[in-house]
């Protein structure tokens, strides 16, 4: 039996598990909600697969390390490696997850050059978009498409999720177009993200990962705002776990 290497990305909202074979090809990928008991959820996932070695990343990695025989790596390095697996020459990665966002620049060699994180506040993350979608009565899956249907966007001035929500509510009360509000909100998130990626990397293609990368409006606006190619892996949420799995594979 060929050797198998697993990577598990324990986020605050979802957990991804990726198993690669010794050629680095993905053989299994699973996802579950983190829920209230991250370790129980992680345990369920890993018990359903077989592997020779596992590497953990994400917010819950240290907790995982206590209960399971594993190595850990930060989500920064894991995302860098994972992004490179999909796009071998890329030197910039933007990851917008449920509750945090990060921008990473890489050397030509693929090593991390510089990174910046926003993990203190929901603004500019998937959570922001979820809350706003709900306030506007849209489904999170179709939120991006609805935003793209608007010709213009209404500027939202609040950076803070809590205040932006009240701002949106008062715009709705004034009878403003929900699609235009949606478009304005997407612009807000992109502005934050663009600022972050610009500070670590100013040219070249960008790999966009994380749940928010599935949002077509975010992808389009990112490309337009930065004037750069935005590359999105087939399953953008797996990138961290894949990176961890590939790293597990590299260990002699």
């Amino acid at each position: 039996m060929r050797k198998r290497f697993a990577g598990i990305d324990i986020g605050s909202r979802t957990i991804e598990l990726v198993v690669v074979d010794d050629s680095g090809k993905i053989v299994i990928s699973l996802q579950t909600d983190t829920g209230f008991d991250p370790m129980a959820a992680a345990k369920n996932l890993i018990h359903s697969v077989e592997y020779d070695r596992i590497m953990a990343t994400g917010y819950g990695r240290n907790l995982f390390e206590i209960s399971f025989d594993t190595l850990t790596v930060t989500e920064i390095k894991a995302h860098a490696i994972g992004a490179r697996a999909f796009f071998p020459d890329v030197q910039a990665v933007l990851d917008i997850g449920g509750q945090d966002s990060k921008a990473i620049s890489l050397f030509e060699s693929g090593k991390v050059k510089k990174f910046e994180m926003n993990d203190r506040c929901a603004a500019g993350t998937g959570k922001f978009l979820e809350i706003m979608a709900k306030t506007l009565g849209f489904d999170i899956e179709t939120f991006g498409r609805e935003a793209l249907l608007a010709e213009n966007g209404l500027a939202i001035s609040s950076m803070c999720t809590v205040f932006a929500e009240s701002e949106v509510t008062s715009l709705i009360a004034k009878g403003k177009s929900r699609r235009e509000i949606a478009r304005g909100l997407h612009t807000s998130v992109i502005q934050r993200a663009a600022g972050m990626i610009n500070r670590v990397s100013s040219v070249g293609d960008i790999v966009f990962t994380g749940g928010v990368a599935k949002n077509p409006c975010m992808r389009r606006f990112l490309a337009e705002t930065l004037g750069r190619n935005v590359l999105v892996p087939e399953d953008p949420q797996l990138v961290g776990a894949l990176g961890a799995a590939l790293l597990a594979r590299e260990i002699p």
Partner: protein
């Protein structure tokens, strides 16, 4: 610490309950952070002892000095010359504190968005938990940063004898002249306080005493250039922190003893961490006792700290005072010359600091620099961006951290620092 001290603390006017709480937390933290380290030099036992008696034996020593006629002068800045205090029969103790305390009381006098170091100092006063503060006969504030400058206006109402030292903001002829006149004024104030006039002998002696302390620290710093590092950053920081309030001669002897041991370790290639552990230089705001948060995270994330470009660290101890003068005036001039070189970010412009950071990174063979800025500290936070740019242009990986004293962001800091250490491997 023994029960003995409760009477002493009560006499000083400390809030015994609050003080007990503080000591408990301090003791616990010291256990988890310091005593949990592996491969420590045996000589660090001295500092373990100092910390266990930090509010006990040392305070008793200071109170005994007072009984014998000496005065205690408290200060919040490395610009306050210890030489002058010592020469006038006073003992200088550093009062900057590194833990949040009595925050709700503090926020009645200071805005919440004030730097943690300033708020902590107020908290220790309002909470009546610092025997150093309460033993001081004179407390020196200084016009350095905006926060401190304005905070002292309120501190003046809380302590019995606040003396504010003015400082220049520009390194120019006028700036140096201001520093000199302020040192003359300080000298007169301390002489009035103690009733003892400074003489050429006492000043020379004082300079030599402080120089000896600095030289011991220089020696230790130099030994940290080795790989593997013979002493941890945590331990070296502690020595730098205790520098500010220990008995000078005993401190000097203890550090030198540790250095003897470190030399042996280096010969045996013995270190705190394995060879080739990523080496980090910390640069920026001072870390006052018991602020051990950042070095603890760094050194439990697979790296070792090999230097501190900070007032509690090399920026504070960098140069010796020229002791060759024959008269008080000559030596005062030498003191001005020595302190004038301190490159705190309150100076504009401040190019020497960047040079020093680069020199230190090279000298201590640092793999990367972590810039430490306290939240709301504008001078250092504003310098952090040009510093980072300049270091990266020289291919020195840099990470900028902005934080406070709370434990809320430990998780986030750990992720960033681990990621940074991964970059360095």
């Amino acid at each position: 610490m023994s029960e003995d001290y409760r009477g002493m603390w009560k006499d000083l006017g400390l809030d015994l309950d609050g003080h007990d709480a503080l000591l408990n937390v301090l003791g616990g933290a010291y256990q988890d952070i310091y005593l949990a380290q592996k491969n420590r030099p045996a000589g660090m036992g001295y500092f373990d002892f100092v910390m266990s008696e930090v509010h006990g034996l040392r305070i008793r020593e200071l109170l005994d000095e007072k009984k014998a006629g000496r005065k205690i002068v408290g200060s919040y800045c490395v610009f306050v010359p210890e030489e002058i205090a010592l020469a006038a029969n006073a003992t200088l103790v550093g009062l900057c504190s590194g833990a949040d305390f009595a925050m709700s009381e503090v926020e009645k006098l200071l805005p919440r968005n004030t730097c943690a170091l300033i708020k902590s100092s107020f908290g220790f006063k309002l909470g009546k938990v610092c025997p150093y503060l309460e033993s001081a006969d004179m407390i020196v504030g200084e016009n350095t940063c905006d926060g401190k400058k304005k905070a002292y206006e309120s501190l003046g109402h809380l302590v019995k004898n606040l003396y504010v030292m003015d400082l220049p903001q520009v390194k120019s002829e006028q700036g140096r002249a201001l520093l000199k006149s302020e040192y003359q004024r300080f000298r007169m104030a301390v002489e009035t306080l103690t009733g003892v006039a400074i003489t050429a002998e006492s000043l020379k002696q004082a300079i030599q005493t402080v120089n000896a302390k600095r030289a011991a620290i220089h020696r230790m710093s130099s030994l940290r250039k080795a790989d593997p590092a013979p002493i941890s950053g945590l331990d070296a920081l502690l020595a730098n922190q205790v520098f500010f309030y220990d008995n000078p001669a005993r401190f000097t002897a203890s550090v030198n003893k540790i250095c003897d041991e470190l030399e042996k370790r280096i010969a045996e290639k013995k270190g705190v961490f394995p060879e080739k552990t990523p080496r980090i230089l910390i640069s920026g705001c001072p870390q006052a006792v018991p602020n051990w948060k950042l070095p603890f995270i760094i050194e439990t994330s697979g790296a070792v700290i090999v230097g501190e470009e900070s007032c509690v660290g090399e920026r504070g101890t960098r140069n010796l005072t020229d002791a060759s003068g024959k008269t008080v005036e000559e030596m005062m001039e030498a003191i001005v010359d020595r302190y004038y070189q301190v490159d705190c970010a309150i100076f504009t412009p401040n190019p020497q600091r960047l040079e020093h950071i680069q020199e230190m990174a090279a000298a201590y063979k640092a793999d990367g620099v972590i810039h430490y800025g306290l939240q709301f500290c504008q001078p250092y936070l504003m310098e952090s961006i040009p510093v980072e740019k300049a270091l990266e242009e020289k291919n020195i990986p840099t990470l900028r951290i902005e934080t406070d004293y709370s434990m809320e962001d430990v998780g986030q800091l750990k992720t960033r620092i681990e990621a940074f250490v991964e970059q360095l491997r």
